[in-house]
Assembly symmetry: C2
């Protein structure tokens, strides 16, 4: 009935030794076609299933640890798709865990992954992670890639979108195409590297424009609700000419808040990540596209390479973001607010 069928049973049934049976299963070693057939037949009739756990005791395991802050944020979801599909397509399984963006959870999960002997680790570190995390992972000595968020000062392999460039693209569009003189950056955790980098890009774009542009930045959670709150707060004062949001959820919240205040289209809004919903919102959302899926695939491929012995250290890799211009930053938006 159960998985009580072992390699020994197969070997006995096929009239060979465990070794030969093992050779057939793993494809290793030299086995005559005749015996191979026989073994395969036995496997089939006996209903044998390979025991990865037992095998891992001798050879390297085929399980990969994947750590993310929240599975439900659309962007991370896309990244996960990329990571997971790449690994399973190569015969590896992903042990996915979410830290809820909390450092203590992260430490705990890291330990559990260690106990599970994962062969590699892909991690989007929790906000606030520092050298301690890097050191812990480093001393552990398992191939690792940091994803989407990097740790300041770390030299570990990193795959992410070029945040500085993303901020630049957004601000440049506002300043040059729309002649904005005041810009607000909304959202993201205060110390998040993505936020800081994007703001750098924003400032650079402003500086390059040669015009005097005022910049205000506000932190917030990365949720629709937070965007709604931020939008209402914003509309209590004088609106900036343009708003850059830390992600699309916030942007949708801000746009909605302005709409509720009867000021739809009163300022230009740019989101970040270009998730699926961006194109369907009203107004449709201009957004900095980052292609999370590609990010995930890239990271996974890098890890697979290292595991396969391609020793040469994985180098960091930045993908190029792209600005997708839609209605939310346009001047052509009619005022559809409820009168």
């Amino acid at each position: 009935m159960g998985s009580r069928v072992t390699l020994i049973d197969v070997a006995r049934h096929a009239g060979v030794s465990r070794t030969t049976a093992s050779y057939v299963i793993t494809g290793t070693g030299r086995v005559s076609t005749a015996t191979r057939e026989r073994v395969l037949a036995s496997i089939d009739t006996l209903g044998y299933v390979y025991n990865e756990g037992a095998a891992s005791l001798r050879r390297k395991g085929r399980t990969i640890g994947v750590i993310v802050p929240n599975i439900d944020r659309p962007f991370f979801g896309e990244v996960l798709i990329g990571v997971e599909s790449t690994f399973t397509d190569s015969g590896y399984m992903s042990l996915m865990v979410s830290t809820r963006d909390q450092l203590d959870q992260q430490a705990r999960l890291l330990r559990m992954l260690r106990e599970h002997q994962v062969a590699a680790l892909a991690i989007i570190p929790a906000t606030g992670s520092d050298r301690d995390l890097v050191n812990a992972i480093h001393s552990w000595d398992v191939p690792t890639v940091f994803l989407s968020r990097y740790i300041a000062g770390s030299t570990e392999p990193y795959v992410g979108s070029d945040e500085v460039r993303g901020g630049y693209l957004a601000a440049d569009h506002l300043v040059r195409a729309h002649r904005c003189r005041s810009i607000s950056y909304i959202g993201g955790p205060e110390l998040g590297v993505a936020r800081i980098d994007r703001l750098h890009g924003v400032r650079r774009a402003i500086a390059e424009s040669g015009t005097g542009v005022s910049l205000v930045d506000v932190t917030s959670e990365s949720t629709v609700e937070a965007g709604l709150r931020a939008g209402h707060a914003l509309s209590r004062g004088e609106l900036p000419d343009g708003v850059i949001c830390h992600n699309d959820s916030i942007a949708m919240g801000v746009a909605r808040a302005l709409y509720e205040q009867g000021r739809a289209g009163a300022t230009r809004i740019i989101g970040y990540d270009d998730v699926a919903a961006a194109q369907a919102s009203v107004p449709s959302l201009t957004s900095v596209a980052t292609n999370g899926r590609l990010l995930g695939e890239t990271a996974a491929q890098a890890l697979l390479a290292v595991i396969s012995g391609a020793e040469p250290t994985v180098r960091s890799h930045l993908t190029e973001p792209r600005l997708v211009v839609r209605e939310s930053c346009g001047d052509h938006i009619e005022d559809r607010s409820p009168s």
Copy 2:
């Protein structure tokens, strides 16, 4: 340096036997406080880490298989949060894989999970899964819960939202509160059980109303893009009085398409799942809330119970959906009583 420290090393260092060391780690057996301290100290100084894989060779493993169609669909993301957090909080790890809603992938992944000796299985089956899947899982003999989608005729434990009720709530609102005489159901895979059940609910609501209401249903993918296409197709003809969409992504696409045709608000739209973006869309989306997270938690808890030996078969569990009324279904007649 690496994880070369084994229980033997710990035992030697602490001056005890493997057994005692093992007792300390697992909390099993009787050990004097003195020796326990000593062992723990050794573990610390030696940097020992438990080897779950090796342990699983003797006792039951602590890894759970989780199969979903797509990680990136917001609703499934919520379900996963519930499943994963519940399991990790209990010391189990989730081996998550996505089938891309394809049967061959699903079969392959099922096999891999088996080889990894998972202690239990939570699965949202791919569209089109049938008795074959149930039989395969059943003969495998591992505690299993079907999640969110059930297999027709299967008696395996199932945790999901009451789809019939959801369809009823949506249609009842359209028919009674808005006096709709024509309704379209848009989206979902043709043979999906959720779709079929919801349509049952819709028909029941129509029948109960005693009025003659025409019902049209169209299948589609569950994406924003598909919603856009469906919305444009819809607006080429005469619009129905009300539209029920298979999920919120489709609903947002439909609403957007109408907007693009200059017919925003020309019909009432109801979405499904009530994902975060629903409240921020313009118009904000009326939606049937299903609480995916709770679903995931419930399923995980049921599995944990079975694993812990609470033999009595997990019974199926349906959660009650709730209609969240917002702007997209328009001019509300004050009738908030779809209790």
